[in-house]
Symmetry: C2
């Protein structure tokens, strides 16, 4: 099932979200407006807002606050993407040139800061004080995750554990916060908030692993950016780390990875990782996280919205974009 079909139920909310987001990133400075809305206009799955809205719905749901929270989450996420593209020198994202590619480092840096400051404005309009403190803490950890990623660049000896910690900080905590805060804004019980926070965390781990697998196996057209973008920059993800640990080929792959920034070597490295069986093992790990995520939903009152959360988990485990 496509994500759009799964999210059919909250389509009106997602339309309202788009309008809100457009308002938030506007600036009296035309350049800042253009740079800040560029990524927004390139589309995206809006997974974080969707999770927040879906986690609020089974409880004392009010559309306004849930959509507002969704906007804050997407703004925080977009601010990090704009900065990440500067750090990673990325030229394409979501099939469009990045802010960095169009306007360069200086404008991108300020556009990212602007979007984050807009997130802060948005958060300040949400009455629940948990929102600010949770998102602040997650933002701190996301920076920590990014720094760890820089430190482990081109390191063939990093462990699977290092990788899990990194993606937890980089990705899973914000998805966890999206679910936790959605439930909080919906005034769910502490037990439900905790269950949804854990659901979001496991979902986030699965999401990042499938993202990392797609970097190795998907077409550029599916990805909206070149295949192996991460690998080429020396970011070694789960399939690469697992392939390095194979008896056959591990040593050869290690040699290749030292020069993986060259495109011929990149192709050969991608081939080796694909042939090693490490992709299948990674997807199995992702499936384990999907199962854990779905198990968290059992404590919630069964309802249509909780079913949708289960479908999202399945989608994340099987997605091809």
């Amino acid at each position: 099932m496509s994500l759009l079909t799964i999210l059919e139920d909250i389509k009106p909310e997602l339309s309202a979200l788009e309008e809100e987001l457009q308002q938030w990133v506007k600036s009296p400075s035309p350049l800042l407006s253009a740079a800040s809305s560029h990524l927004l206009n390139a589309g995206g799955k809006r997974l974080r807002p969707a999770l927040a809205i879906l986690c609020a719905r089974p409880f004392a749901y009010q559309r306004g606050p849930a959509v507002r929270l969704g906007a804050a989450l997407e703004l925080v996420h977009m601010a990090t993407l704009v900065h990440d593209d500067v750090v990673d020198c990325s030229i394409l994202r979501r099939g469009q040139p990045t802010v960095k590619a169009v306007w360069g480092d200086q404008v991108s840096l300020h556009a990212g800061d602007h979007i984050f400051a807009r997130a802060l404005m948005c958060i300040a309009t949400i009455e629940n004080p948990r929102v600010a403190s949770v998102l602040a803490e997650v933002s701190v950890k996301m920076s920590q995750g990014e720094i760890t990623q820089i430190l482990t660049t081109y390191d063939p000896d990093q462990s699977v554990r290092d990788y899990f910690k990194r993606i937890r900080y980089k990705t899973a905590l914000l998805l966890s916060a999206s679910c936790e805060l959605g439930a909080t804004v919906g005034r769910a019980s502490d037990r439900a908030v905790q269950a949804l926070s854990r659901y979001g965390y496991f979902l986030g781990m699965a999401f990042q692993i499938t993202d990392d697998v797609l970097d190795i196996v998907a077409d550029a057209s599916q990805l909206g950016k070149p295949t192996g973008s991460d690998l080429q920059q020396g970011i070694f993800t789960l399939p690469v780390i697992l392939a390095l640990r194979r008896d056959s080929g591990g040593q050869r792959l290690r040699e290749l990875l030292a020069q993986v920034s060259e495109s011929e070597i990149l192709s050969e490295s991608l081939e080796m990782v694909r042939a090693s069986g490490a992709v299948e093992d990674s997807l199995e790990t992702a499936q384990n996280y999907v199962a854990k995520a779905k198990a968290c939903l059992h404590v919630l009152p069964p309802c249509e919205h909780v079913n949708v959360l289960g479908e999202i988990a399945d989608f994340v485990g099987n997605r091809d974009f």
Copy 2:
């Protein structure tokens, strides 16, 4: 009078502030900790926290919240400085190598994000909701000011009005917010909050003008960075804009400024600006803002702390570092 002497009265608060700041920028990642505390350890005037504390003191003063607010303000300020040094490719600040110079663009970008996220954490612990909304709005406008600065780089036709708008966004609004929020946290009357907000704004304008004059006239040892750093990057400030408008020399200066990034041309340009009388005119403008700032203090109940605010205004008008 030195700033340290003026601030003698709130020395215990400023010591408590330093300890708080050290706590906030710490990270379990040693690299992120080092990069984030680097600028903090290089010192600085702590003008924004000092203003916040002094504006809280005449009212229902409580040290804890005032110092916490001061920490939030300094963290926001430091986050922008770390990013500005990336954008401006600055090597020295406060006499020390910048974060960018020591760790490069990637780490600096994340260190700036980390410090801003820490500011958010700090703000989330302050119970007054005005703090988050005012600082969010100021942060948005600071990004806007920075973008305007990029857009006006090397533009000899920018007006004095353009300049004033730029420094209002870049600098004056955060100083205004420091005073306004200090008074707010001190539970001052609306009238006093407004007067102090205006005081901070005028002070901020004077502060940035003297800063810009110092870039032209001060020694590298006073500045903690090379003389003419701004000018060399094509950032034309009040003394330069005024010098360009002189009948004698304006045309020659305009020609020089097109190539001011070369160090010989920089020296000659600095000489021309200094000889034009534009420095004196700029300082007079700064003094006008100082007078306006001090006039705002008249509506406040006369007390020792308000006197200190007057002394700070005089210091800002006459400072040589």
